[in-house]
C-alpha cells in the first residue's frame, strides 16, 4: 500500500514528514509535502493520522488486491474517525474512541 498527498490542501505544517518511520515524505520547493519513495511505504498510516487538513490518504496497491479506495482520518477529541471513500463514490465512516480498548 502507499499514500497520496493532495498538494492543494497541504498547508506545509511538516507533521507527516516528522512521523514517517521510513523518512519517505519530503517537502517541495513550495514547502508542500510529497511522497518521494511511494514503493517504500510500509502502510503504517502514521502520516495519515497526523495531517490536520486531511490531505494525506492511503490506498492498497493493485498488486495486493486494492480497488482504488482512499482512506483518511479525522481527529475529534477522543474520537478518531476513519473515512473510506470508495472509487464508486460510496463513503463509509468508522469512529474509534481512543479511550476504549480493543475487544479482542
Amino acid at each position: 500500500m502507499s499514500i497520496t498527498i493532495d498538494k492543494s490542501k497541504c498547508i506545509g505544517c511538516g507533521k507527516c514528514r516528522t512521523v514517517c518511520p521510513g523518512s519517505l515524505i519530503k517537502k517541495d520547493e513550495n514547502g508542500k509535502a510529497f511522497i518521494k519513495y511511494p514503493k517504500d511505504c510500509w502502510g503504517c498510516t502514521s502520516c495519515v493520522k497526523e495531517c490536520p487538513v486531511h490531505a494525506v490518504r492511503f490506498y492498497l496497491g493493485a498488486d495486493i488486491g486494492g480497488m482504488g479506495s482512499l482512506v483518511h482520518t479525522e481527529s475529534m477529541g477522543d474520537i478518531l474517525r476513519w473515512v473510506i471513500e470508495k472509487s464508486d463514490g460510496e463513503i463509509s465512516k468508522i469512529d474509534i474512541n481512543r479511550k476504549e480498548s480493543n475487544k479482542y
Binding site: 517504500d40 511505504c41 510500509w42 502514521s46 492498497l60 481512543r98 479511550k99 480493543n102
Partner: protein
C-alpha cells in the same frame, strides 16, 4: 558534508520500544547524560509505528514468571536462555503498569482488574503506544534525542566500545559520538528475503522494512558473539495485507482450515512454527488455499474486528470494506511471510549475559536485537530496555571511554566521500537489494522453496551474497538518505552471511519452516540441544557450539 563531534555518557542506538524505555530507566536511576540516536523520529518509529493489538506478554493472576519461561521454552523447543527469560518475565507486570501510568488504555473489568486474553495477553488500545512512550522520553531532563540520525558503525578498540558513527540523513552531517557505554536497540532485520509482494507493495511486510539489522551487522563486524540466527521467524499472516492473525485466532476463536473446509491445525500442532508449517504443507498437498474460519461469527464480532484492525493494521479493514464483505461473510485467507531475523519473536541476536551485556565491553543489548530470549514482544522489549539501562548505569561508574582515534574517523569519512562522490556505478542500490533478496529466496530457504534448503543451496547462497557485497563498493548515493540506503544494504548482506552460516551449522530440523534443513530432516536431541553461536574472526564466520545454560543459574561471559 558537515562534521559534528558529540560526547555523552550513555548512547542509546535506536529510539524504539526498548530504547525509549532504557532512556526512562536511566533518567530515573541516575543523572547520566544520555543521547538517543534514531534514524526516523521517536514519535512513530520502529515496530510500534502503526500501533499494536495487545500486550502479548503478561503474567496473569494465578501464573508465575516461571510459567512464562516454560511456555516459551516449549514453543522454541528448548533452545532458549532460561536466565534471560526469567529476568524478563519477572519485570513484565511492572512495565505494564508503567505503560498504563503513561497513558496506555488497558481493558479492565468492573473490579478494576485487567481483562486477559488467554493466559498471557492483555487487551489494549495500542494505536498510540509509541507517541505515549516518545512523549515521556521527550520530557526527560538529561536525555537528548537526535532524530533522523542513522548509526552506521561502532567505534571499538580492543573489544571495548568507545562510541559510534552516524549520518544525519536530512542535514548531511557526519556524527562522531563518544560514549562511556552504549545500548543497542535497533530491532531486528526485515528485507533479507524476497517479500510476499515484490512489486509496488514490496514494503507491505510484517516487520518494519526500516529495521534493517543495523545492530546485528555492527556487532558481527566488531567481532561480537551472536546466537541462533538459524531460528528465523516466519509469520502467519492475512494474505496481501500481511495483517496479524492472532486477533482472529485468539480473539474470535477462528480455526485454520484448508480449502476443503477441514481444520488442519490439530494435525501439525500449534507452536508458532508448526502453524506456518501446516499451512505450507496443506498447500503443497493440493489442499490450498488456507484460511482462518471467520464465516459465521456474529455481527458484533464483525464490528469489533473492523475496529481492532484499524488500531494496528488498517489495510485489513480496508480490504474487508473494499470487498463489500465482512469477516462473518468470508473466511480470511492466510499465508506465511518471508523469513525475518527478530530476537523478540525467536532467539536470534547478541549473545548476552544475564545483565544484557554483550561480549563487547561497554555494549549492552535490548529488544529484538538481543538473542536467547524469544517471545518477548512489547513488554519484554521494555523489560530488557530496563535491565540493559541499569547495567549501563552501573558500568559507567567505573569506566570511561577512550577517545576515538583519528585513523578510524578518517576511514569512515573517506568511505562516505567515496559513496557520495563521482558516480561510476552501473548498478543501483535497488538492483543489488533485489539481487540479494532473490538469492536468499532461491538458495537460503525463502518463500520460493517453501522455506526449505539443503547444504548445496546454502553454499551457492553464500558465494553469491559475498559477490553482491563486493559490488556495493562502487555504489553511488545522491544524498545522505541514499547513503543510508547503501549502509542498510550492506547491513542486510552482512546479516545474510551469518544467517546462511548458522542454517548450515545446525545439522537437524528442530523447527519446521523456521530452519528446515532437507539434508537433516529430523530433530536430533542427542546432538543438537545446543546453541549455535558465531563470531567473525579474521573476516571469517567462526561457528561456536555451546551447551544450554541451565535454568536457575546466572550467565556471565568468561573471556
Amino acid at each position: 558534508m558537515k562534521i559534528e563531534k558529540i560526547k555523552t555518557q550513555i548512547l542509546i542506538i535506536g529510539g524504539g520500544t526498548a530504547g525509549c524505555y532504557a532512556a526512562l530507566t536511566i533518567a530515573e536511576n541516575s543523572d547520566a547524560k544520555t543521547l538517543i540516536c534514531e534514524k526516523a523520529h521517536i514519535k512513530r518509529s520502529g515496530c510500534l509505528a502503526a500501533g499494536v493489538n495487545a500486550l502479548n506478554a503478561y503474567i496473569v493472576e494465578g501464573r508465575t514468571p516461571q510459567d512464562y519461561v516454560e511456555y516459551v521454552k516449549k514453543d522454541a523447543d528448548g533452545i532458549v536462555r532460561e536466565d534471560l527469560l526469567l529476568t524478563m518475565s519477572e519485570r513484565l507486570n511492572k512495565v505494564t503498569e508503567r505503560l498504563e501510568q503513561l497513558g496506555l488504555v488497558i481493558l479492565k473489568d468492573e473490579k478494576g482488574k485487567y481483562v486477559t486474553r488467554g493466559n498471557r495477553n492483555l487487551k489494549i488500545n495500542g494505536e498510540n503506544i509509541k507517541p505515549i512512550l516518545a512523549q515521556a522520553v521527550e520530557n526527560l531532563p538529561n536525555v537528548s534525542i537526535l532524530n533522523r540520525v542513522n548509526i552506521i558503525d561502532y567505534a571499538v578498540e580492543n573489544n571495548r566500545i568507545n562510541g559510534a558513527f552516524g549520518i544525519g540523513i536530512e542535514n548531511n552531517t557526519f556524527y562522531i559520538i563518544e560514549a562511556d557505554a552504549v545500548i543497542i536497540a535497533t530491532g531486528g532485520a526485515a528485507g533479507l528475503y524476497k517479500p510476499n509482494n515484490p512489486g509496488f507493495s514490496r514494503h507491505k511486510m510484517w516487520y518494519p522494512p526500516f529495521n534493517t539489522g543495523a545492530g546485528y551487522a555492527m556487532g558481527i563486524r566488531a567481532g561480537a558473539e551472536m546466537t541462533t540466527f538459524e531460528m528465523r521467524f516466519i509469520a502467519l499472516r492475512c494474505k496481501d495485507t500481511i495483517a496479524p492473525t492472532g486477533t482472529l485466532a485468539q480473539g474470535v476463536g477462528a480455526k485454520q482450515i484448508n480449502s476443503l473446509g477441514d481444520v488442519y491445525e490439530t494435525k501439525y500442532g500449534i507452536t508458532t512454527s508448526e502453524r506456518v508449517y501446516g499451512t505450507v504443507n496443506e498447500n503443497l498437498e493440493g489442499r490450498g488455499p488456507c484460511y482462518l474460519k471467520t464465516e459465521g461469527i456474529t455481527h458484533e464480532q464483525d464490528e469489533s474486528l473492523i475496529k481492532a484492525y484499524l488500531n494496528m493494521a488498517p489495510s485489513q479493514t480496508l480490504k474487508w470494506i473494499e470487498s463489500g464483505k465482512n469477516p462473518s461473510q468470508q473466511n480470511v485467507e492466510i499465508e506465511g511471510t518471508e523469513p525475518y531475523i527478530v530476537g523478540g519473536h525467536t532467539a536470534s541476536g547478541y549473545w548476552v549475559d544475564t545483565n544484557r551485556a554483550t561480549t563487547i565491553k561497554g555494549l549492552f543489548a535490548a529488544g529484538d536485537v538481543a538473542g536467547g530470549c524469544p517471545q518477548k514482544y512489547v513488554t519484554g522489549a521494555l523489560a530488557e530496555g530496563e535491565i540493559a539501562a541499569l547495567s549501563a548505569v552501573d558500568f559507567i561508574k567505573n569506566h570511561k571511554a577512550q577517545s576515538i582515534d583519528k585513523e578510524k574517523i578518517d576511514k569512515q569519512k573517506s568511505e562516505i566521500k567515496k559513496f557520495i562522490g563521482e558516480n561510476n556505478s552501473n548498478f543501483t542500490i535497488e538492483q543489488l537489494e533485489e539481487a540479494m533478496q532473490t538469492v536468499m529466496d532461491s538458495y537460503a530457504g525463502g518463500i520460493k522453496t517453501n522455506y526449505r534448503f539443503n547444504e548445496k543451496q546454502l553454499d551457492i547462497a553464500d558465494y553469491k551474497i559475498k559477490q553482491i557485497y563486493q559490488l556495493t563498493d562502487r555504489l553511488h548515493a545522491d544524498d545522505f538518505q541514499e547513503l543510508m540506503y547503501i549502509y542498510e544494504l550492506r547491513e542486510r548482506l552482512t546479516v545474510c552471511q551469518s544467517v546462511i552460516a548458522h542454517l548450515k551449522a545446525r545439522h537437524e530440523t528442530r523447527w519446521h519452516s523456521f530452519a528446515e534443513n532437507l539434508d537433516y530432516p529430523e530433530k536430533d536431541n542427542k546432538n543438537w540441544k545446543k546453541y549455535v553461536n558465531s563470531r567473525l574472526e579474521n573476516g571469517e564466520i567462526k561457528i561456536i557450539l555451546r551447551e544450554l545454560v541451565k535454568g536457575g543459574t546466572q550467565f556471565e561471559h568468561n573471556n
